[in-house]
Symmetry: C2
Subunit: 345 residues, 2 copies
């Protein structure tokens, strides 16, 4: 078994461990945020961690009413200056905790007196040591170069901090069902290796999501690019339909992340447009999709509220990317051009 497959399958346990062992730290961090009362949140991250930051934009925006800005680390490193972060909460997210540019954003923020928090999988890392508060993702070593369990751990950490920030009992109840939902999602994807073969020779596709699952579209598209060397574009449903949809010809494969919730009406509407263009629509959902709108429906459990679906909806995408890479005879654990530590300056 590849490290990649093992790590994908570890996700329910990683999530369960976080929920049981890090609840207190999530509470401590939420309290510090409430006390600081920042005008907004700024998150520094790259790659997969940047997609976790996109999840935070919607979760903190909708539930905690905080605007989340994504930091521009190059301003700190290449242009060697720092914007005014003094009224922000600054969060650094990094699997390895070794990204030099993410650390620089936190260093500058701290010098300005901002509250700083880091989320890493390495408590001894420079980023973890640097921040006022550290949230340990406890995902265990991630050997495969393509990040999977560290991503869902990051999302879970954000959801836990969000639930404590809002102080909503229903959110905590829903969080507790997450490990089982992740387990069911993996089980439901059991036949992926067979049907994915149909896509062996495509060299492009698109992945669409919106709202809470905007991050899911980006993360699945990133996994497909990294593992399968396919030009897989990630898009917001809203942006995609007003222009970039022009790329869709008959047979063009499109993953549409469309769980039940605020975005589903728009997703169904997009699926109808895609059907007219004779696209191949692969729909990740816990909803009923009208006849004829999907080539294949990838099921996620119906039990979760929309705000938690990104933590399950990414999993069929991870599994699809893995099996598609295998069908293309590509290495699963060490794809070309990928390095484990993103050390950008």
């Amino acid at each position: 078994m590849s490290h990649l497959q093992r790590e994908i399958e570890e996700q329910p346990d990683v999530i369960a461990r976080l929920l049981s062992e890090q609840s207190e730290q999530a509470q401590t961090i939420a309290r510090a945020i409430r006390e600081a009362n920042p005008a907004y949140i700024c998150i520094a991250a790259r790659g997969t961690s940047d997609n976790a930051a996109r999840y935070a934009q919607y979760l903190f925006g909708i539930k905690a009413k905080k605007v989340v800005a994504l930091a521009t680390p190059s301003i700190h490193t290449l242009y060697q200056t720092a914007p005014d972060l003094s009224r922000a909460l600054v969060i650094g997210i990094s699997q390895s905790g070794q990204s030099e540019d993410i650390r620089q954003v936190l260093t500058d923020a701290k010098a300005q007196g901002s509250l700083t928090i880091s989320l890493t999988n390495k408590p001894e890392s420079p980023l973890a040591q640097q921040a006022d508060y550290h949230f340990d993702l406890m995902a265990g070593e991630e050997v495969s170069v393509a990040a999977t369990k560290s991503y869902t751990a990051q999302l879970t950490a954000i959801a836990m901090i969000g639930a404590h920030l809002v102080g909503d009992a229903d959110m905590h109840t829903a969080l507790a069902t997450l490990p089982a939902a992740a387990r069911d999602t993996i089980a439901a994807a059991g036949d992926t290796a067979q049907w994915i073969e149909r896509y062996r020779y495509t060299d492009r596709l698109a992945v669409i999501g919106r709202g809470y699952n905007y991050c899911t579209a980006f993360e699945i598209s990133l996994k497909i690019k990294e593992l399968c060397y396919i030009s897989a574009d990630g898009w917001s449903e809203a942006d995609f339909r007003h222009g970039p949809i022009a790329i869709v010809q008959p047979g063009f494969p499109v993953f549409v992340v469309a769980p039940r919730g605020a975005t589903s009406e728009h997703a169904i509407d997009l699926l109808a447009l895609l059907a007219k263009r004779k696209a191949e629509s692969l729909v990740i959902t816990n909803d009923d999709i009208p006849e004829g709108l999907a080539r294949r429906v990838l099921k996620i459990p119906a039990s979760l509220p929309e705000w938690l679906t990104p933590i399950t909806a990414v999993i069929p995408g991870q599994i699809a990317a893995m099996h598609l890479a295998a069908a293309r005879d590509l290495p699963l654990d060490k794809p070309r051009g990928l390095s484990k530590v993103t050390n950008t300056q």
Copy 2:
């Protein structure tokens, strides 16, 4: 002549008109921003206008030390809530000024007492009427569905407001040379129709930029997608090299936006990596590119400081997208699937 070509060629005049007729309004807006002293800036925009917002992230971040968040309009429309924008300056950017979701962000911000500004090409539009201050882009009617002159007008407006916000005489001096630089850029691209034929049959490519020209990579990639139906990915140089570079095989075309400045060392480094993978690198630059690292160098004038290069560097990309669409026998003014007004809910 297509409307698209005429509008691309109008850009020097549009920029000159803005500089001469809108300087006072830029100054008024800058004064209002200084008085409000917002904790950060939040920009609501979609598509091409979103790429203008990316320019503002770097320009306001580096020169005026203000963090710029990109708004998440779906939070306001689909999730029907509003994050706390009370300590923000909120800017809406829209060519048509008719985007319902952008207007909703400004409505919510205004209700919370934030300072609001709109940048549109239509002073009579709902968005223009709504904001505390309106900046008229004066680009004239844009008939071609793919936006060109309205984009460079948006960038120029942001640069003008930035220069007044910083109050730097050198910035104003540099701004004054912009129309001539845009004219020279168009002249230097005179042979594009010939050499672009080489790429008639590619159905994918990548466009890379960083820092100030992160926006340029995204905007060129968007034009190529919309006009040529090619899977053209836009990337930050930093993100691209740590994973997505896996998609690059021999002959894979990559546009690299690499003007002289803080990012050039990294761009040259990426070009060396791409050369090893035998990519086809097309470099947009005013710098000297080492022998063997570029299939073709697309020149922009050396006269502009780095912060203004996005307004010229996008032009060779617009022209390349136009001629590539023509080489593929595609319609220039009404590409499939594209609508002029982005009316998202």
